[in-house]
């Protein structure tokens, strides 16, 4: 074999090997980026603020460290977006039932209406959609700081005979095991989309 032929053979072999490697990596489930969620380049820590869960027990986002959490902002006097989101998240959570307990995400509805959403009201509302879902309410004074850390917004608007409604960010947030906002699902949401991306996020974590 001439030297030229040898070089050509070596190059061809290298290309074949690289392609096979890439194909194999894809087949073996090499981590992919989420498709629906936007990953934050720098995860944002959530401030350590006191709150109450729907049982009236103290709950801080930091208490959820060690688990992935899917969090969103809502309120119980919300007929359209909030129950629809809870329904979608219940579907997503069920699609993730096969994951080991430590990888199954917590789902948390953070109320943007602390005046009306006392723990008892959250208890009547949130677990209806899934028995493991949790509600969180924080004092009015802490809500601006908490929502800001997520990059979320809310505002009160007068509304008919129900006195007021709450405009709020409808995105769904992913909080990592270090209590940092790591990803955002913009609207619209589907159970399949959220479940698939949560698996991708878990694989990315495992590959690090």
């Amino acid at each position: 074999m001439s030297r030229n032929n040898f070089i050509v053979a070596a190059v061809v072999l290298a290309i074949v090997a690289a392609s096979a490697g890439a194909w194999l990596a894809a087949r073996l489930g090499a981590p992919e980026m989420p498709v629906h969620a936007r990953m934050l380049n720098t995860p944002r820590p959530v401030p350590d603020l006191p709150g109450l869960d729907h049982h009236g027990e103290p709950l801080r986002i930091q208490d959820l460290e060690g688990r992935w959490t899917i969090a969103f902002f809502g309120f119980t006097h919300c007929p359209d977006i909030c129950p629809a989101t809870l329904q979608v998240l219940a579907g997503a959570r069920r699609l993730l039932d096969d994951l080991p307990a430590e990888d199954r995400p917590e789902v948390l509805m953070i109320s943007v209406d602390p005046q009306r959403d006392v723990p008892e009201r959250l208890a009547e509302y949130v677990p209806f959609f899934h028995p493991e879902f949790r509600g969180l309410t924080v004092a009015d004074a802490h809500l601006p700081e908490l929502t800001r850390s997520f990059g979320a917004a809310y505002a009160y608007s007068p509304a008919g005979d129900d006195s007021y409604t709450v405009d709020h960010t409808a995105s769904v947030f992913v909080v990592d095991r270090q209590a940092r906002v790591a990803a955002v699902f913009p609207t619209p949401h589907t159970a399949e989309g959220i479940a698939e991306d949560m698996r991708r996020i878990l694989k990315l974590e495992a590959s690090r």
Binding site: P79, D80, Y154, H168, T169, T187
Partner: protein
């Protein structure tokens, strides 16, 4: 109902596109043809969101088609199951959802308006006997021309 309109349209198209309105094929239910010819609105896929029994309110959804020649203006909704019903629209601005009452909803001739999650919805408030968690909710659409359209919306949760 949507099927009836489609069927009617197909038959008319197939038989005689230019036929006068009286030459209706005889095998269609008379009330359906009469309604379509009067240009009456057609309601399809109505439903009411299943929410926790303790919830103070829920939302209703439907599609409404206007086969007539005049705009159809919905000015209100009534239901014996709720003390107050409003037409609402959820508007998404920079990811922020806000809900606003609509004075009226207009369906242009030949158009269909969909009330659906994240958009237009019937805001059902002050349940008379708790929010309905099963069965179907009787409702009446009130039109600007004084017409009333009754329908029943089953309770469900389609995202599941």
């Amino acid at each position: 109902m949507r099927l009836t309109v489609l069927l009617l349209a197909t038959l008319l198209w197939g038989c005689a596109p230019d036929a006068p309105e009286t030459s209706v094929p005889g095998d269609l239910p008379p009330e359906a043809t009469a309604a379509a010819y009067a240009g009456s609105p057609v309601i399809s896929d109505p439903w009411v969101r299943r929410v926790p029994p303790a919830a103070r309110m829920t939302a209703g959804y439907l599609s409404i088609s206007n086969p007539g020649t005049e705009p159809l203006v919905i000015v209100g909704v009534e239901s014996p199951a709720f003390g107050s019903v409003e037409l609402h629209g959820t508007i998404m601005t920079d990811g922020v959802a806000s809900m606003r009452e609509q004075e009226a909803v207009t369906v242009e001739p030949g158009d269909t308006v969909r009330f659906e999650p994240g958009g237009l919805h019937l805001m059902l408030m002050q349940p008379t006997d708790g929010v309905p968690t099963s069965g179907a909710v009787p409702m009446t659409l009130l039109l600007e021309n004084g017409e009333r359209i009754e329908f029943a919306a089953p309770v469900g949760s389609p995202e599941r």
